[in-house]
């Protein structure tokens, strides 16, 4: 079976999910994922529908495995897992495929992701002011002053990425909470 490898980084899981579904529409179906590396197999265009979920805990724990088994028993396939993320797919012929069908559970999912990104932002920001300044100093001493600034910028970008994701998800949560006041 011919495969195609695409290197890409997504911070927004919904954009990632849309992209995977666009690829599937074009006949390239995700079969594995490692950090930043997607592997696709040729399939019938539009054969599969993909869904990504952020689990309560690491995908390898007993609790997560029980959940993943439950989902696969409803006709979906576990494509791959990565840390706390799980990638499912289901044949499009089985009808629309959504993991969450009401506002409450969708809200719960967004909140989990948003808490995670929020925590990452906080941890990275704290590291930035304490440890990083020292590390940059050490690197500059060892490799010359040229290296300090680029590393700092990469780090700053990372903090900003997590921060904007947290903001985006918080807005999403608020919008859903407003809707939930009058509907389910």
């Amino acid at each position: 079976m011919s495969t195609e490898t695409v290197r890409k980084l997504y911070w927004d899981f919904e954009k990632e999910e849309r992209w995977l579904n666009e690829m599937a529409e074009r006949g390239l179906s995700l079969v594995s994922y490692r950090w930043g590396t997607y592997e696709f197999e040729k399939s019938e265009p539009g054969e599969w529908v993909y869904r990504i979920q952020f689990l309560d805990e690491d995908a390898r724990t007993q609790k997560s495995r029980e959940y993943i088994d439950f989902v696969t028993e409803t006709g979906a396939e576990r494509v791959t897992t990565y840390r706390q993320w799980v990638y499912f797919r289901r044949l499009a012929t089985q009808g629309p495929f959504d993991l969450f069908s009401d506002l409450d559970s969708r809200l719960g999912h967004y909140k989990r992701v948003s808490t995670f990104y929020g925590a990452m932002t906080a941890i990275l920001s704290m590291l930035m002011v304490t440890v990083l300044a020292r590390i940059v100093g050490i690197i500059e001493e060892a490799f010359g002053e040229l290296w300090g600034l680029p590393i700092f910028i990469v780090y700053l970008v990372l903090v900003l990425v997590f921060f904007t994701q947290t903001l985006r998800l918080t807005r999403r949560v608020k919008a859903l909470e407003a809707r939930r006041k009058i509907e389910e």
Binding site: E73, G75, G95, F100, S101, D104
Partner: protein
């Protein structure tokens, strides 16, 4: 002890409870609810898993012990769960009665 007098049930919970008047596993509930609502309501597996957990905590449903296929856990409605469904029916009937009486302008 859990009580049988909750607030209004969500559509998802109401249909899951109805479906579990006979023992069913996850996929069975999804299919049954879809049949009952003639395809209008389809429950996602993520939503259903969470609902199973919280409904079992409330003792409205229980896992069936010694089910034919042990890996696929089946659930069934408890007596408490039946009471909850009946209480909800009374509430829904009131809504329907008042709705039909007052909002009868739509019959053109």
């Amino acid at each position: 002890m859990p009580t049988a007098t909750p607030g209004p049930l969500t559509e998802t919970v109401f249909y899951i409870l109805l479906a579990l008047s006979t023992p069913l596993h996850g996929y069975g509930v999804m299919q049954r609810v879809s049949e009952l609502s003639e395809g209008r309501v389809s429950i996602g597996p993520g939503t259903l898993y969470g609902a199973f957990t919280s409904l079992a905590e409330k003792d409205w449903i229980v896992p069936v012990v010694g089910a034919a296929n042990d890996r696929k856990k089946e659930y069934v409605l408890t007596d408490l769960g039946r009471d909850v469904v009946h209480a909800e029916l009374v509430r829904l009937e009131e809504l329907l009665r008042n709705g039909r009486t007052i909002a009868n302008w739509s019959t053109r």
